[in-house]
Symmetry: C2
Subunit: 662 residues, 2 copies
């Protein structure tokens, strides 16, 4: 199958003011990464401007771009500097990687038709770790994948081909520098990826990645010493186990000297972990960290740990408390090359959640913010949901862990507590569909994640506009239209799905479409406990106390029904249907209104999309149109199920007399 080039699709461009810079490259440093950078420049110059670049190893007279190393440590491992000297643009960095990122910046600028002189002089990423997590299974399926099969694995074989390289280019172009290639639920033989059996082939991917400044990570099975090594235990304090992992690490680094490390889902949803041996997560993680430490590797340990066998009758246990309860207490016990990876919200990637109280709560522990580009609960790349605004809200959230520099962005960038191993990670939305992300517009989330991880102060709108102009050649009017479609899509999705932070209400297992009580009496700790008069779980200080996991001013904010942000009302409070919201509407009427509105908004989105019929290429236009039609059907079903559910519960009609099915 042929695949597309997304935002690296170098269409012919006319009249670019700075195209003469692309005539000559003065490459003053050699190496795989900078060579790839030069290759990219050549391809871009040829395809955009029809220019065949001349590359020289010493600086000549003609206008052009100088690529050279510098000694400016302030730029860090990934930063770069762009200056102008006479007719030359000088791109310099302390590392070849920095030059590669600078080159992609130059191309981005050109592709958008912006003058190169508008590029800031110094460009340094906010986050040191800008990571992508694949949930690709060894058999070739992708867990929560909505864009086809894996392009890494097919039927328990590793695939390496031209697409692997294009993937590395795409990722490097948005600043991604770490990729774990296999699912955190390590199954179907993927436990063996860390062994000789597969390392030669994993190395091939790692080599391609390395040429683009990307470190390869593997998700590991905590029980590997048993399942792979044939030991009788995986106890992290057992000498045999310690030794097994040390030997495994040694072997991995023999094949892949630049190997990033392990990503670990342990003691979660049936995965093995240190709890089986009465060890805590610090003991569990540190053992692995020690094995990787001699080689510079890290352990990324997910905090997605909760009781997934809860009894619905148990109203004391609150799943939203779990990550904090499991990890905040062991702050300070983790090795310096362990990083905790924390989901953005306390539950699981719902369309609306508060920020996880773990951010800011662990002063002595490296933390990575985990978001989900894959739209598991946000429309599965059938429905449009531009997620950058959600991630922005998370990053901008003030934890109040300090007077200043207390946002989530500050914490995970290391500004708050001075951590150096931290940043962002995202579960990706790619697959082997020709457009990579199923829904063409879902590529905005992939692109946006990378750009945001690099520069968390970019606005959602800036990122969207940049993605649009990198991907499509639209005039301002049509660009604005597409921008509007993207910018409103999260709110729209929220409008027609579960209201006010209550979450879930989705079909079991596959998580698409409404099922209000699907999880209500199940074991997953996801209950709304709606009755004839009220809905919600009280998570305030008077309820499960989950609000107390936040710093005091946030606790107060959420505890008080009058100050709690409306969109989170049903996350934190149990509320009668006739409760008046700030708007003066009852809760019930608010639910009806938002659900009717959500569908209307989808209809408007579709109308807007239809105005792009002439300016978007027909294949893409149709692909998106088909998905919008499915989204419309889905939104109507959500509207009707939710409205009918609450109508049946209350027998209170819509004030505006709109039709609700009985």
């Amino acid at each position: 199958m042929k695949w597309e080039q997304l935002w690296l699709n170098y269409n012919k461009t006319t009249n670019y003011i700075d195209k003469e810079y692309f005539a000559n490259i003065y490459q003053m440093t050699q190496g795989d990464i900078v060579n790839n950078a030069v290759k990219e420049l050549k391809m871009a110059a040829m395809e955009m401007f029809g220019i065949s670049i001349t590359v020289e190893k010493s600086i000549g007279e003609k206008q052009g771009i100088i690529l050279q190393l510098n000694n400016d440590d302030s730029l860090g491992e990934d930063g770069y500097q762009i200056e102008f000297e006479g007719s030359k643009l000088v791109l310099s960095a302390p590392t070849q990687k920095g030059i590669l990122y600078g080159v992609f910046h130059i191309i981005r600028q050109a592709k958008q038709g912006e003058p190169l002189r508008n590029i800031h002089k110094k460009n340094i990423p906010n986050n040191k770790y800008r990571m992508i997590n694949h949930w690709d299974d060894f058999g070739g399926n992708i867990e929560r994948g909505y864009s086809g099969k894996s392009f890494f694995f097919g039927n328990r074989e590793i695939m390496v081909n031209e697409r692997t390289k294009d993937y590395a280019r795409l990722m490097a172009s948005i600043g991604i520098n770490q990729i774990s290639i296999n699912n955190v639920n390590v199954r179907e033989g993927a436990s063996w990826l860390v062994t000789k059996k597969y390392l030669p082939k994993v190395k091939e991917i790692a080599d391609i990645f390395e040429g683009y400044g990307i470190k390869l990570f593997l998700s590991i099975n905590y029980a590997s010493p048993i399942d792979v090594g044939g030991l009788d235990t995986a106890d992290p304090l057992d000498d045999k186990v310690i030794n097994w992992w040390q030997e495994a690490a040694k072997e991995i680094y023999e094949y892949i000297p630049n190997f990033g490390g392990f990503l670990v889902k342990a003691d979660s949803e049936g995965r093995p972990g240190p709890f089986s041996y009465n060890r805590d997560h610090a003991q569990g993680a540190n053992m692995l960290a020690k094995a990787l430490e001699p080689f510079g590797g890290v352990v990324i340990w997910r905090c997605f740990v909760y009781n997934c066998r809860q009894d619905w009758r148990d109203t004391k246990t609150d799943r939203a408390r779990a990550a904090y309860d499991n990890f905040a207490t062991i702050d300070g016990f983790f090795a310096s090359n362990v990083i905790l990876q924390v989901k953005n919200g306390p539950v699981d990637f719902q369309v609306r959640e508060p920020v996880s109280p773990l951010f800011g709560a662990m002063k002595s522990t490296n933390q990575i913010l985990e978001v989900q580009i894959a739209q598991e609960y946000t429309g599965q790349q059938i429905d449009l949901c531009y997620l950058v605004p959600m991630w922005k809200e998370v990053l901008d959230f003030r934890t109040h862990c300090k007077e200043k520099l207390d946002t989530v962005a500050d914490v995970v960038a290391g500004r708050t507590f001075g951590h150096v191993k931290c940043g962002m990670a995202a579960v990706t939305n790619t697959g082997d569909d020709s457009n990579w992300s199923g829904h063409d517009l879902a590529a905005a989330n992939l692109y946006g994640y990378g750009r945001l991880a690099w520069n968390t102060s970019l606005s959602s709108e800036e990122i969207a506009r940049e993605w649009i102009s990198m991907t499509y050649n639209l005039d301002k009017m049509h660009e604005d239209t597409l921008l509007e479609i993207l910018m409103g899509s999260w709110a729209t999705y929220e409008n027609y799905t579960s209201p006010l932070g209550i979450g879930w209400m989705v079909n079991i297992s596959h998580h698409y479409g409404p099922n209000v009580e699907g999880y209500e009496y199940d074991v997953w700790g996801t209950y709304h406990r709606a009755n004839h008069l009220a809905i919600g779980v009280d998570r305030t200080s008077k309820g499960t106390g989950m609000t107390q996991q936040y710093y005091p001013s946030n606790t107060r904010l959420y505890d008080n029904i009058d100050t709690c942000p409306q969109e989170l009302l049903l996350f934190f409070h149990r509320i009668p249907y006739n409760h008046k919201l700030q708007s003066g509407k009852t809760l019930l009427q608010h639910i009806y209104d938002t659900h009717f509105k959500g569908v209307e908004e989808v209809e408007e989105m579709i109308k807007k999309w239809e105005t792009l019929n002439e300016v978007i290429c027909p294949v893409v236009y149709e692909r998106v149109k088909v998905r919008f039609d499915r989204q419309l059907e889905n939104s109507k079903n959500w509207r009707d199920v939710i409205n009918t559910y609450f109508y049946r519960k209350t027998l209170i009609k819509d004030e505006k007399g709109r039709h609700i099915y009985e």
Copy 2:
């Protein structure tokens, strides 16, 4: 894995009054079937009485059993006669099969310690077809299987071994004479079972079956001409298709001259069928029937056809109408070697349904009654549910299609309309667990089904008692205890699950455990539409009109809320929670009461089982005990989910003040 012998476990027996008959067999006819009968007698005599039987080909002086053919056509294909002449028991039949059934009868009598002279002189089965349907997939899993893997198929290979033979013995011993070995959802390559690729191996099973009087059937994929034959259509009126099936049939009969025919699930739940080509089911079935006709084969065509993509907002479509609507109108159009297989109820094997109105509605069409031994919706062989009482109710149901001989038993036995190709079929509950049926006591359903299909006038209690005494050596007191456990189990299961015929309310897909609204907004046509005040779908003449599919006196019975049998009230009516039942209780209180009672009954069952601790072998005792413990947990969860669901809906408390979770 070793397997058990169930009711053919010939334990040592002392003091049997008639054991001397087992000393000598006078075998006056030869052949595979009668040889197997003699073998069975030898084994039984040796194991029960320590007697080594002498077999002679002419009648001698000593006491013994004479096996011989007779010319009494009134006995039919399967009947037999038992007479006494001096010191001889004379077992005679027009066929060897009859002799085999008679031998199993003699052994059964002996095993129960009953005098042989108590056997009726003439023994003729009520039903000509006494069929077992396996839902075994070619990959080795069993759809709705709760007893391990298939013993016919493993990883797309056919297995033939000693267990195959023991299975044939077990089935023949209870009178089964037809077995379809593969799932009606024909997948995983099972479409190829009808081809040369697999027929040699299928033949091996068929040969074993034939030695025990059993005809082998295969479930076929209606799209085989495409999927196997490489044609571009499966249209039943297309000459290429007609020809393909004729050739296929010819080939099958070359391998298996005694092949029974095809079992077909067409145009149902995504299966291909004649609807794809705008042909009706008669056209679809007759084409296959014509291909089989020259060889004496039949087509068994399932009537489980309904719209499985219903919109929950559509209140006009009523799934319960579907089988009748699809088939009653084409009565008279089916070939004489087509048999329609009709599920006992109009929906799908729920714990309580009315009888399908199709019975008695098709005067010119062969019909088989389909029941489900596998406990898909009745506890999955974790919870105990002795199903013979349910089947008895179905068989005894008066359709009023005629003045007399109008019960379902009459219809499917051929007494009503004179059909000759008819009887009963059952989806079986077997797998490769050592005890065959997962729950040891679930073997009573397998045994009971066979015995009932042979003699529909046996009572549930007679059958249960017979099974107990065939399986366990208990004194009268303990036998009574086990009988009580079995006899009450269906009512108990009904008490703690979905009330009064409403059905469903189960977890999606796997169908174990409660989920009241799991299917409520789904596509399967299974809605209860409960709101704050009432629950149920009106299927009366004023509602969907489904009651009008019955003959008038039944229509009147069900239409009237006062005459409708209470256990079916929520199948036929929409009823307010405060409606007073005959008992004087409100509907809601009835629901609360039955659900509390259901759990109490499980607790009582367990206490009864515990009194058998000393008299049931420890392995079996423990296996059953473990399942009872799981049943108790399940019943409590059902009780609490159902009660909480209705409490949340109504906020009306239990009158007796028992605890209902909020």
